[in-house]
């Protein structure tokens, strides 16, 4: 033996030297070299893979040293190999291999590809295969030497069955990856269902004609119908082979790219793990698709007994048994229903109750069918059931719950459910409960998860710190009140609060739909996340109004896996239908206005009360309007995600009920006429009433010069995209007019020629028209110096004022009478206490109350810095306020803090802050809340100054009592100092990462950094507190 080793080793060493040279010469032939290297090991750079040759080298230890030196750090794997005995067979292999190596190298020299000519069989494939052959022997090496030696004889004597003992490590497998020199795979079409047959037939053909066929193999995959793969070097070989095969349609032969070759062959062995209680589905027959539970498995005969919910038409069965005529055609599959033996007997079906010989259990027999507890026990072939990825739905399992063995049985069934659990099901910290075994019902927390065992920290004292429990014996545990997220199943993505726990079933109150959902505790994880689940499919989102195929429409109230639940726009009764994505025509986004029962205009976001129908009394904001149908969202309405569909005519806008309106109407008249005379002339005081219209108007007219009387007038647009809309003119610039649309609450610019100003307002709008006339008086907001800036600067929809308009008060705002009344009320009665007692006035006219409140304090005027104190304007605005119901009124500076938000505040604290002299308006604004906003100029902020047509940037140094500002020109305030009127300034909207100052809201005066912009909101990090706030961009001013 020793001698042989030496010989061998010499050989090897020689070979190695050769090889190294070769490698240098022949670097591009990497693949080959690698293979060769694997055969002989030492020389290859891929030392890691070429272990076995080391063994050889090691065999004689001393001589080996040389070898070692040659190795590039190849010693890594050696140590362990020393102890490995080896069997002689290796050397046979090696010798053979060396030979073939030489051959192969020659081959390479000639040309890279072997020309196939049938006779030339010992090509590189054989060589390469042989190289690999020694590899697996390592496994054997681990074994007893003697035993091995003995076996070698036996094995090689019986060469007819070459044993296959390669080590299947991933690395080894990697080495087998196909190269360009391997045969290729070709895909050929074949008759469906004949894949296997074809493969076998080709084999037969090969055997019959021996080496005539040059294809290497034929592969039929079970999961790939209609195709087989043929391994061959050339397409021509494939053609030759498939000639005359009737099941192969060889018109098209497709080459499988080398990269995909391994994918073809990587078939996961289906782990059919059928055992008792496994959930399976039937594949064939009447019960196709039905859930079944395995009761018995016969592996030898490949049959399983399953428990099913029978689908038996008893009547038909009875007919058949009695020999009566049975209709041949099976028109329908009977619905699944548990068998009722008594019922069967009533139909004179013979039911036997006897013992099953195999199981020893009692069954009811009807003919050959066996029933127990109403379930059908059926023995079927394993092939006719599918056990892969069976996920019984909740409802199915419910039906399988046997009344008699509730509890235990259920839990058992449940545990088989867990077979489908994904890896990483349990995570550290999860609350779990043991559901099986001695520790049943023990609660605990997951500490560590191993392969199959989960270490839990039990809740109960006196137990070891951690217990290892098989994961199949564990179930997640939740308590009512937990907030969870559904992670698998049909309800995936939904979140909600656990309201009830029924063993493994949780009842969750969904965050979105406010409905109860029942889920397996296995399917949820604890999460504070509040999601609505999927809220969007395609372009459609939850709560969108959509037009459906049949021209019906509705609101999406829930989004399921691939469908939407839509509350149809049928006011008579709630009608919900399940709609597929493709059944939706489009989203309806256009905003319409309609009139409620009392002909008040209802727009989206108005709060309405439903006056009739099943939802009578419900109340909420209008989310959508379409074809006279309102979709009202009432969060107290638990059905249909809170949506109620109602006819506009059966609703009324809340806050503008008819009776009040009438009263207000009269007030408004009085207000209109009386107010002027009451207005105190002092410009420095906040007056209860407005200044005389005329005087103020005169001034403004004069001041602005050139503005014609159109401003303030209600006009109708005659042409253009806004044709037909009516609105009030707020500004005129050259040829264009800016019109505040009545219906849309926005200001649009229209060509002056496109508007007509003789709007004859019909009856319900009489008030409006008067309001319009009233607005001819110049103090209608727009004339106040600040106003022109205010309006355009704001995003009409976004500002609180408009919100206010949408809220109940809005109605008043639009109906001139409403706001008129309160001032009057108060003035005349002079009794602040009555404010709170006049409910309709409260919501309707907060502004005026706001005025009331501060009135007593004459200190208003002296408040420095406040925008209230601008000389001249306050009176106007005040008067405007008191008199004019225009929703835009609040946009005058003085009006702003008084906007709706002040309503609730004032009554609560009569004579509160605003009265405090010296508190000033600055102080007031935060109190009033974030709703009060507007660009109130403040020191330090960057503004763009538009003086005499030139626009420059500047920094406000000081805000003067009259509202104008001392501005240092230049974008960092380095230029001249000028005095700018508010109307001449505009704040500079900040951009991301600009330094900003907050101009309004409760944080007014603070500085920060704009770290992000989201629509009209800015995300601000406040400098002082480092808090991150989301604020309306409008109240953020850029700092230089």
């Amino acid at each position: 033996m020793v001698r042989r080793f030496d010989d061998e080793d010499d050989d090897v060493e020689e070979e190695e030297y050769e090889d190294e040279e070769e490698q240098l010469l022949d670097d591009e032939d990497y693949d080959v070299d690698e293979d060769v290297g694997r055969g002989r090991g030492g020389s290859s750079k891929k030392r890691g893979r070429s272990d076995f040759i080391d063994d050889l080298a090691e065999e004689d230890d001393e001589e080996d040293e040389d070898d070692d030196d040659e190795d590039y750090g190849g010693g890594g794997g050696r140590g362990k190999r020393h102890k490995a005995p080896r069997d002689g067979s290796q050397f046979f292999d090696l010798e053979a291999q060396v030979d073939s190596d030489e051959e192969e190298e020659e081959d390479e020299g000639e040309d890279g590809f072997i020309v196939e000519n049938g006779a030339d069989i010992p090509d590189e494939d054989i060589g390469r295969r042989m190289h690999r052959r020694p590899l697996p022997l390592r496994e054997d090496e681990q074994e007893d030497v003697e035993a091995l030696e003995r076996s070698i004889q036996a094995r090689y004597a019986r060469s007819s069955h070459a044993e296959y003992d390669e080590e299947t490590t991933d690395v080894e497998q990697q080495a087998l990856l196909p190269s360009v020199r391997d045969p290729k795979l070709w895909m050929v079409k074949c008759a469906i269902g004949r894949e296997r047959e074809t493969a076998v037939c080709l084999m037969q053909k090969y055997i019959d004609r021996v080496s005539d066929l040059q294809i290497r193999s034929v592969i039929a995959l079970d999961h790939l119908k209609n195709y087989i793969y043929i391994e061959a070097d050339k397409e021509a070989h494939v053609r030759e082979a498939i000639k005359g095969q009737r099941n192969i349609f060889g018109a098209k032969i497709m080459l499988v790219p080398i990269r995909e070759m391994t994918d073809v062959l990587s078939v996961e062995s289906k782990a059919i793990d059928l055992s008792r209680d496994t959930w399976v589905r039937m594949k064939l027959g009447t019960y196709k698709g039905d859930l079944a539970q395995v009761v018995d498995v016969d592996n030898v005969r490949q049959r399983v007994t399953v428990k099913l919910i029978p689908r038996i038409d008893l009547q038909a069965l009875a007919n058949k048994l009695e020999g009566r005529e049975v209709p041949k055609k099976k028109a329908f599959v009977p619905p699944p229903r548990l068998m009722n033996v008594d019922e069967a007997r009533e139909l004179h079906i013979r039911v036997e109750h006897r013992r099953d010989q195999l199981t020893g259990d009692y069954f009811h027999y009807i003919g050959p069918m066996m029933f127990r507890d109403g379930f059908l026990y059926k023995t079927v072939s394993m092939k006719s059931i599918s056990a892969q990825n069976i996920k019984p739905t909740f409802d199915e399992l419910e039906k399988f719950r046997t009344p008699s063995v509730k509890g235990e049985g259920e839990m058992v069934g449940l545990s088989t459910l867990f077979a489908n659990r994904k890896k990483g099901h349990f995570m550290k910290g999860d609350a779990v409960i043991v559901i099986k075994g001695d520790l049943k019902n023990l609660k605990g927390w997951v500490e560590k998860v191993e392969e199959e065992n989960v270490h839990i920290r039990p809740e109960m004292k006196g137990l070891p710190k951690t217990l290892a429990v098989n994961e199949k014996e564990l179930c997640k545990y939740f308590e009512p009140g937990n907030h969870v997220k559904v992670v698998t199943g049909t309800k995936e993505g939904a979140t909600g609060m656990v309201v009830k726990v029924e063993q493994h079933v949780l009842i969750i109150l969904s965050d979105t739909t406010k409905e109860h959902i029942r889920v397996f505790s296995d399917d949820v994880v604890e999460s504070s996340e509040v999601t609505t689940g999927v809220t969007k499919i395609g372009d459609y989102e939850l709560h969108d109004l959509v037009l459906l195929d049949n021209n019906s429409f509705g609101v999406i109230i829930r989004i399921e896996r691939e469908a939407f639940q839509v509350l149809k726009g049928v006011p008579e009764r709630p009608e919900v239908s399940l709609v597929k994505l493709r059944e939706i025509k489009c989203k309806l986004e256009k905003k319409f206005d309609v009139q409620d029962r009392y002909r008040n205009t209802v727009s989206v976001k108005d709060v309405v009360r439903i006056l009739e129908g099943s939802c009578k009394g419900k109340q909420g904001p209008v989310e959508h309007i379409y074809k006279g149908v309102l979709f009202v969202y009432d969060r107290h309405h638990l059905e249909h995600a809170g949506f109620i569909c109602a006819k506009a005519g059966s609703c009324c806008v809340v806050g503008g009920s008819r009776s009040n309106g009438d009263r207000n109407d009269s007030f408004s008249k009085i207000g209109n006429f009386k107010t002027p005379s009451r207005v105190p002339p002092s410009p420095r005081r906040f007056s209860r009433g407005g200044p005389p219209f005329d005087s103020a108007g005169g001034r403004h007219r004069g001041g602005r010069g050139g503005h014609d009387a159109l401003v303030g007038i209600t006009v109708k647009v005659r042409q253009g995209p806004y044709k037909g809309y009516r609105g009030r003119v707020v500004d005129i610039k050259g040829q264009s007019v800016r019109v505040e649309l009545e219906s849309q609450m926005k200001v649009v610019t229209v060509d002056r020629n496109f508007v007509s100003d003789n709007v004859v307002v019909s009856t319900p709008y009489r008030d409006t028209s008067r309001y319009g006339m009233g607005s001819e008086t110049p103090m209608r907001s727009s004339r106040t110096p600040l106003h022109p800036y205010m309006t355009p600067m704001r995003d009409p929809g976004a500002t609180p004022i408009h919100d206010g308009m949408r809220t109940p008060m809005r109605d008043r705002a639009w109906n001139p009478y409403a706001p008129m009344s309160p001032p009057r009320d108060n003035w005349e009665e002079g009794n602040p206490a009555s404010w709170g007692t006049s409910p309709q006035y409260q919501p309707g006219s907060p502004p005026s109350r706001a005025y009331e409140a501060p009135t007593p304090g004459s200190g208003w005027a002296s408040t420095p810095g406040g925008s209230y104190s601008e000389a001249g304007t306050p009176r106007d605005s005040g008067s405007a306020y008191a008199n004019a119901p225009s929703p835009y009124m609040p946009s005058t500076p003085s009006g702003q803090p008084m906007t709706p938000s002040s309503g609730p505040y004032i009554p609560g604290t009569p004579g509160g802050q605003p009265m405090t002299p010296g508190t000033g308006l600055d102080a007031m604004s935060p109190v009033i809340g974030p709703e009060s906003e507007g660009p109130w100029f403040m020191p330090d902020i960057l503004v763009s100054v538009n003086k005499s047509g030139e626009e420059t940037h500047g920094v406000i140094l000081e805000v003067l009592p009259d509202g104008s500002c001392k501005v240092a020109l230049g974008s960092n305030g380095s230029g001249d100092t000028v005095i700018a009127l508010p109307s001449e300034m505009e704040t500079v909207p900040p951009k991301k990462s600009d330094k900003i100052k907050i101009m309004g809201g409760s944080l007014r005066g603070l500085t920060g950094k704009l770290i992000g912009v989201d629509g009209t909101d800015g995300i601000v990090r406040i400098d002082d507190s480092l808090d991150v706030k989301i604020l309306d961009l409008v109240i953020l001013a850029k700092l230089p």
């Binding site: 069955h161 070459a162 003992d165 493969a199 076998v200 290497r216 070759m261 394993m382």
Partner: protein, 116 residues
């Protein structure tokens, strides 16, 4: 590699079984009559029970190999040294333990199927 090919299955769907060790596919009868050419030590031809134990009808895909040593697919599937014949790509079950021990005794490697 002139080994005689194994019997070619005579049926294509029913009764086909695959040897749990070498994945050779034949019909039940063929196994019973002549055993498995690659794994004669199982001695399937000596008892019907053995056939049932050593083979399975649950397998996935068929590859028929004319010359296993020259087929890349066969090498990849590690059947490159077996006799020509029809094999399956993967069996679904592992060899029973006693038979695994038997493999060890005769120094034949057994590679259990990889599970998904």
């Amino acid at each position: 590699m002139g080994s005689a090919p194994a019997q070619i299955p005579t049926s294509f769907v029913h009764e086909l079984r695959a040897c749990l060790r070498c994945r050779l596919v034949k019909t039940y009868d063929q196994f019973r009559e002549s055993g498995c050419q690659n794994c004669p030590f199982f001695k399937m031809d000596e008892g019907n029970e053995r056939v049932v134990d050593c083979t399975t009808p649950n397998f996935n895909g068929i590859i028929s190999v004319k010359d296993p040593s020259r087929s890349w697919a066969a090498r990849w599937l590690r059947i490159g040294k077996f006799v020509p014949g029809c094999y399956t790509l993967a069996v679904s079950e592992a060899l029973p333990e006693d038979l695994q021990n038997m493999c060890e005794e005769v120094h034949v490697q057994y590679v259990p199927p990889k599970r998904a």
